[in-house]
């Protein structure tokens, strides 16, 4: 028989496993760094695993960390399937969270469940607005969405800093000299239910349910069909009577909405208030970026993104534990996360190249498409107006 490496099923298996290999490779490089710091990598990674999955509580922590990743990742699945690159998860999370928090601060007389629902909805809306602006600029003015979403992140941070220092500041802090930039604490009635005694909250369940809904959205609705069609071939989509520009706006709008919801859930499930250290990641924990990695990890499939975000959440929680156990500088933990991101993202690039090569082989002679194969996240595909 012939070479196993040339078999179709084998090459597909590799594709699916690629993110896992990439993570292992990143940990391998991390091991070298640990060795240089004279730390036994086995001990370190052992602590990491222990921290992520060692006990009921650590599993709960992992899931808490996974929740915003999953939500942001779901939005990424939608936008990337539409060949729109949303790098604005951070900003969208912040805007969603600000709007949601304001609900809790304003409506202290209303029933808890009502405020929670309202707040989550407003989180959704806030993120949608923030993403939608970038979508509108891209669709109707041809402004690159990578640029706008990144810039809107910066704007969102400044807006947050301004609001938390002024209009939304905790009244008791306003009286103090310290003036910590934070809002008042939400009422106990406004907290998302928790699985006591852990910090695992209802938000995780909501995210998982939404993953199934996004799956249905993408493959069972006309909206999903339109978004995917525009992502794969804008010319043919126009021919099919699809309003290409509108789908681009919708893709970014929905993508932002999920990030906004992630922000709202972070406030109502974990922090119970908003506080800023001046940076975006101070609030988001970089979930707006890491969610992209989780989605790529999950092959831009909403259901694949569930285990992917859990794994990524585990990495974050585990790294903390590792830092405490083996006493490595926190910079190393950040570097380790960065390594995983770089490896996973570039492995996805490689996967798309492999796919393209396979297609090039399979390319039938009538084919006259230019060589750019619509990779799920290929920026070249995102030009709308010729």
């Amino acid at each position: 028989m012939q070479n196993i490496f040339k078999q179709e099923w084998f090459s597909r298996l590799i594709d699916v496993m690629l993110p896992v290999f990439a993570t292992l490779a990143a940990l391998g490089v991390g091991a070298v760094m640990l060795l240089l710091l004279k730390v036994n990598p086995f001990v370190a990674y052992g602590a990491m695993f222990e921290g992520a999955f060692g006990s009921g509580n650590s599993i709960a922590e992992t899931l808490v960390k996974a929740t915003p990743l999953l939500l942001v990742g779901l939005g990424i699945c939608i936008s990337f399937r539409g060949s729109v690159i949303n790098i604005g998860g951070e900003g969208q999370m912040i805007i969603g969270a600000l709007l949601a928090t304001q609900m809790g601060l304003m409506f202290t007389d209303l029933p808890g469940w009502f405020v929670i629902v309202l707040a989550l909805l407003m989180g959704f809306v806030g993120g949608a607005l923030w993403g939608g602006i970038a979508g509108y600029l891209k669709a109707y003015f041809g402004v690159n969405e990578i640029l706008t979403t990144v810039m809107m992140n910066a704007i969102a941070v400044q807006l947050m800093n301004f609001l938390l220092r002024g209009p939304m500041i905790d009244p008791s802090q306003a009286q103090l000299a310290s003036k910590i930039p934070q809002t008042a604490r939400l009422l106990d009635a406004f907290r998302l239910p928790r699985w006591m005694p852990t910090r695992l909250h209802l938000g995780f369940l909501i995210a998982v349910v939404l993953a199934f809904l996004v799956y249905i959205l993408l493959w069972r609705t006309t909206l999903g069909y339109r978004i995917r069609a525009v992502g794969k071939n804008p010319d043919a989509s126009r021919y099919a009577g699809i309003n290409v520009k509108r789908q681009i706006v919708l893709a970014l709008l929905l993508s932002g909405a999920f990030a906004g919801l992630a922000g709202a859930i972070q406030v109502y499930g974990v922090n119970y208030r908003m506080i800023t250290d001046g940076s975006a990641s101070g609030f988001t924990g970089s979930a707006g970026f890491n969610g992209i990695v989780a989605a790529l990890f999950g092959q831009l499939h909403p259901l694949g993104t569930i285990p992917a975000s859990i794994l990524f959440g585990a990495l974050l929680v585990g790294a903390n534990k590792m830092q405490r156990v083996v006493q490595v500088p926190s910079a190393l933990v950040i570097a380790l996360n960065g390594l995983v991101v770089v490896f996973v993202v570039s492995s996805d690039y490689w996967r798309r190249k492999r796919q393209r090569r396979r297609l090039a082989q399979a390319r039938i002679e009538e084919d006259d498409e230019p060589d750019e194969e619509p990779g799920a996240a290929s920026p070249a595909q995102t030009e709308v107006v010729a």
Partner: protein
């Protein structure tokens, strides 16, 4: 013929090339089933077969793009292994795909030099390349300007660049996979001159085409594939066109079309003084007038690039008109969106189907509802109705004999002709009020061509207005009630069926206007 065993290009001749017992499987498909095939120096060997018979697959095996599951390849009697096209090229095997692999923004010589080591190390040696191109071009009688940009060239000229590229890389044996499908009749003649020159010099050629008269004209031997199996090899001298047809399909095929005389109805698709620009912003249509009646097939003949594509795109709302009006069933559609026009039941079979008419990564079923997915019965309240979609797709796949492992297969892994069928099935099955069909049978085998023609005639009988754009004069003459000739964005004349002769059409197509024939 050269006496020794080197070709004029300096490459060693390939006296014989044999493929024996080649088997190639794809998931759910046995594309080649123990196929034997051989080519000799100095001959053109035709490879015939229906859509999806496995022709392209066999050739891609020979070009090193696919690894066969079984079988071997012997070159001058020596077994060879091909792991990539590079291996094939190094052994003197070249291939011209129907889709040209040229970079439009580069010149001819840059394209030829692309991917080859330079004699000047990291620096380019384009001057030397140009000289060599001119040398080769001169020898084979190929007219080509090495400094021209590829985007400036016609399709036929681009194909010549591909041939030069293959010769430059030392091809002794050249595979031509449906080279004539995109060519005008004149360009086909020019290609045949080049092919004859090449065989005279000792090249071996493999020629794939669905046009039997071409096969008879240019080939010495013919091999027929059916469902991945080799049916046999014959000498062309001993066969006729209809022999070949029935041998290939396994039944008699009718080569003539009966147009039952029809009384044309009201003008259904009307163009009034329509003008629009090409992609480059130059005028493509200059005040064109045309009426397509209900129950009529109006053939639009013309050398490609005279505004045919723009005409279709203006009508379907894909290209803005700068002047004039378009009327469908009494309603002005000039500035409506493609979606609205689609819903008014104007079907459009675009010429560049892979780019404009389908989504390669979508499944067969998804592509079959591309035009109607937002409507009942395929969706309701924004949800797709998968059961209906599936049974609809199964029906069309069956009716149009689309060869696919399943309706869930991505379109991109179908054979060339079967991809075409998906678009045709969709556009013809939606009970349109008018159809614009550009090159509808390009790339189809004779059985499928017959079926598509029958479908068009059925639509005509049902009163649909059909605008048939084709470069194939035989098709135009066989299928049209009236024939309009387009030249530089205007209608040169309209000739009735039966009154048209190829000569007269040829003159009109060249822009020579006579006085008397406006019908």
């Amino acid at each position: 013929m050269t006496a020794n065993n080197t070709l004029p290009s300096g490459q060693t001749r390939i006296d014989t090339l044999e493929m024996s017992g080649i088997t190639k499987r794809f998931p759910g498909v046995l594309a080649n089933d123990s196929v034997d095939f051989d080519v000799k120096a100095g001959e053109v060997h035709a490879l015939l077969g229906e859509n999806g018979a496995g022709k392209s697959t066999l050739m891609k095996v020979l070009y090193g793009m696919y690894h066969p599951d079984e079988g071997q390849i012997l070159l001058n009697g020596q077994p060879i292994t091909l792991n990539s096209p590079t291996d094939a090229i190094n052994l003197g095997i070249g291939m011209i795909h129907q889709h040209f692999m040229l970079v439009e923004t580069l010149t001819v010589s840059e394209n030829v030099a692309l991917g080859l080591p330079s004699t000047r190390g990291p620096l380019t040696d384009l001057k030397r390349v140009s000289e060599r191109i001119l040398e080769l071009a001169d020898f084979y009688g190929l007219k080509i300007d090495p400094d021209a940009y590829v985007w400036q060239l016609s399709v036929g000229q681009q194909q010549r660049v591909e041939i030069i590229k293959a010769l430059y890389r030392g091809a002794a044996l050249l595979i031509l996979d449906e080279p004539t499908a995109v060519l005008t009749p004149q360009e086909v003649d020019e290609l045949f001159v080049i092919m004859r020159q090449m065989t005279e010099d000792g090249h071996g050629l493999i020629f794939i085409s669905h046009k039997l008269h071409e096969v008879i004209e240019i080939c010495q031997r013919v091999t027929v594939l059916r469902d991945g199996r080799m049916i046999g090899t014959r000498s062309i001298a001993a066969t006729t066109k209809s022999d070949l047809a029935s041998w290939m399909v396994g039944r008699e095929v009718s080569m003539t079309r009966d147009l039952v005389p029809m009384k044309p109805g009201e003008p259904r698709l009307v163009f009034e003084e329509i003008a629009c620009n090409s992609d480059r912003g130059t005028p493509a249509l200059r005040g064109l007038n045309l009426e397509v009646h209900s129950g009529e097939i109006l053939g639009l003949a013309g050398v490609s690039g005279n505004g045919q594509r723009e005409l279709a795109e203006v009508a379907t709302g894909l290209r803005p008109a700068t002047r004039g009006r378009i009327i469908l069933e009494g309603r002005e559609i000039t500035h409506l969106s493609p979606g609205v026009i689609t819903d008014l039941m104007l079907s459009y079979i675009p010429e560049e189907r892979m780019r404009d008419g389908m989504i390669r990564d979508f499944t067969v079923a998804e592509n079959l509802i591309l035009r109607e997915f937002q409507k009942m019965p395929y969706s309701k309240n924004g949800f797709l109705r998968l059961k209906t979609i599936d049974s609809h797709s199964e029906g069309l796949v069956h009716a149009f004999r689309v060869k696919t492992p399943s309706i869930e297969t991505p379109v991109k892994s179908l054979s060339g002709g079967n991809i075409q069928k998906v678009v045709l099935a969709r556009e013809l099955s939606r009970k349109p009020r008018a159809i614009i069909a550009a090159q509808p049978t390009r790339g189809l085998d004779i059985g499928a061509t017959e079926y598509v023609h029958a479908q068009l005639l059925e639509q005509r009988a049902a009163g649909t207005a059909i605008l048939l754009i084709s470069e194939d004069l035989d098709e135009i003459l066989a299928m049209s009630d009236r024939i309009a000739v387009i030249f530089e964005g205007q209608i040169m004349g309209i000739v009735k069926r039966g009154e048209a002769t190829p000569e007269q059409l040829g003159l009109l197509m060249a822009g020579v206007k006579e006085e008397s024939e406006i019908a």
